[in-house]
Homo-oligomer: 203 residues x 2
DNA sequence: CTCATTTACTTAACATCGTTAATCGTACTC
DNA sequence: GAGTACGATTAACGATGTTAAGTAAATGAG
C-alpha cells in the first residue's frame, strides 16, 4: 500500500508550494505587507489551509527564512573549503555574509531584526543546527584558522566571533533600513567595516 | 485677547499627554503591540482625537522617538564637553550610545531597525537637525578630536564615522533582538566591540 | 458492496487593527 | 442672540491573523 506515501508526497508538495508563494511575496514586500490571504490567493487555496501546514504566520515565514539561510551556509562552506591565507579567507566570508544580507533584506530583517517572540522558545531558538547558528559557527571556525596560522593572538575566540558578528550585522542592518542616509559609498563602508574589525582583532 | 493663546496651550497640553501615554505603552510593549485605541483609552479620549494632533500612527511614534533621542543628545553633549584624552572620550561616547540603545530598545528599534516608509521622504529623513543625525554627528566630532590630537591618522573621517556607527549599531541591535543568544557576556561583548573598532581605526 | 472513519479543505465568523467621513456640541465672534 | 469655527465623538470601512464548525471525498473494515 503505497497510498500513504503518495498522500505524504502530495502534502509535501503543497507545503512547498505554500513556502514558495510566501517566499516570493515576502521578497517583494516586507514581512508586514504579506498577508495570509494574499499567500492563499496566490496558490489558489483558502487562507485556512495554510494553518494545516504551518502553525501561524510567524512559523511560515520562519521556515521561509530557514530555506534562504541554508543557501548562505552553502555559500560559506564553499568559501571556507578554499585554500589560501586564512585571514583573507575570513574576510571573504565576512563579505559574502554581508552581500547575502543585502541581497535578501527581507529575510535578513525577519530573522535578525525582529523581536524574538516572547514565550518559552529560549532554547528552541539558537539551536546549533539552525542555519543562522551554522552561519555563525563559520566565524569561530574562520577565527580559529587564523589563530592556528599564528596570524592572530589566541584570546577568547567566542568573544571575538561575537564581536565580528556584531560588526557585520551592523553594517548590513543599517544599509537595509537607512538606505536613504548619505553613505560615503556602499562598497566603501562595507570594506571599511570588515577591514576595521579584522585589523582591530589582529592587533 | 489671550483666548487664542489659551487654546493653543490646551492643544499643546493634550498633545503632550498623547505623547506621554504613547511613550509609556510603547516602552512596555513593542511598536506593533501598541494600538491607537489603547493609547486613546489611556488618556480617556476617543481614538480619532489622536488624528487631530498627529498625522497617523507612524507620525505619532516618530515624535515619541524624537523626544527620547533628544535625551541621548543631551547625554552625549555632556560627555563631549568633558576634558581629557580624546580617544577615551570617544570611547565613553560610544558606550553611552550603546547603553542608551539598550535602555530604550523599543525606541531604538523603531528609529533604526524599521524599514524606512517608502515614499518621498528621501530628504525629510536624515535632516541634520533630527536627533538621530545629531547623535551621529557626535561621532565625526569625536573622531576629528582624535585626529587633531594626533591619536589617529587623518583618513576619511566620514567613512570612519560610518564604520563606527555600523559597529555600535550592530551590537545594540543584536543584543536587543537576539537576547536569548548565548552571549559571552553583555558587558564583555560591548567592551570588545568598542575596543576592536577603535583599535582598528587607530591602527 | 456498504458503511463508518479519517483526511483535506472551505465557509463563516470573531476580534482587532488603522483610518476616514459625517456629525455633534460648545465656546467663541460679531 | 445668531452664526461660525473648532475640538471631539460616533459610526463605519476594509483589512488583518486566527479559530470553530462544516463539507465532501478518499480510505479502510466488514
Amino acid at each position: 500500500m503505497g497510498v500513504k506515501e503518495r498522500r505524504a508526497r502530495q502534502k509535501k508538495y503543497l507545503r512547498q508550494e505554500i513556502l514558495d508563494a510566501a517566499s516570493e511575496l515576502f521578497v517583494r514586500e516586507g514581512y508586514e505587507n504579506v498577508s495570509m490571504r494574499r499567500i492563499a490567493d496566490k496558490i489558489e487555496y483558502s487562507p485556512t489551509t495554510i494553518y494545516i501546514y504551518f502553525k501561524d504566520k510567524a512559523d511560515l515565514l520562519e521556515q521561509v527564512c530557514k530555506e534562504t539561510f541554508a543557501r548562505l551556509v552553502q555559500r560559506l562552506t564553499k568559501i571556507m573549503e578554499q585554500p589560501g591565507e586564512p585571514v583573507e579567507r575570513l574576510k571573504r566570508g565576512l563579505i559574502a555574509y554581508i552581500e547575502f544580507g543585502l541581497e535578501n533584506p527581507h529575510h535578513y530583517r525577519a530573522t535578525f531584526m525582529m523581536p524574538i517572540p516572547d514565550g518559552l522558545d529560549h532554547e528552541k531558538y539558537h539551536q546549533a543546527d539552525s542555519p543562522g547558528m551554522q552561519a555563525f559557527s563559520f566565524l569561530t571556525r574562520g577565527l580559529t584558522d587564523c589563530i592556528k596560522a599564528g596570524k592572530m593572538h589566541a584570546t577568547n575566540v567566542e568573544l571575538a566571533a561575537q564581536t565580528l558578528w556584531a560588526g557585520i550585522h551592523g553594517i548590513i542592518s543599517l544599509l537595509i533600513t537607512q538606505n536613504t542616509f548619505p553613505w560615503v559609498g556602499r562598497e566603501k563602508v562595507i570594506h571599511s567595516t570588515v577591514h576595521t574589525l579584522v585589523a582591530g582583532l589582529v592587533r
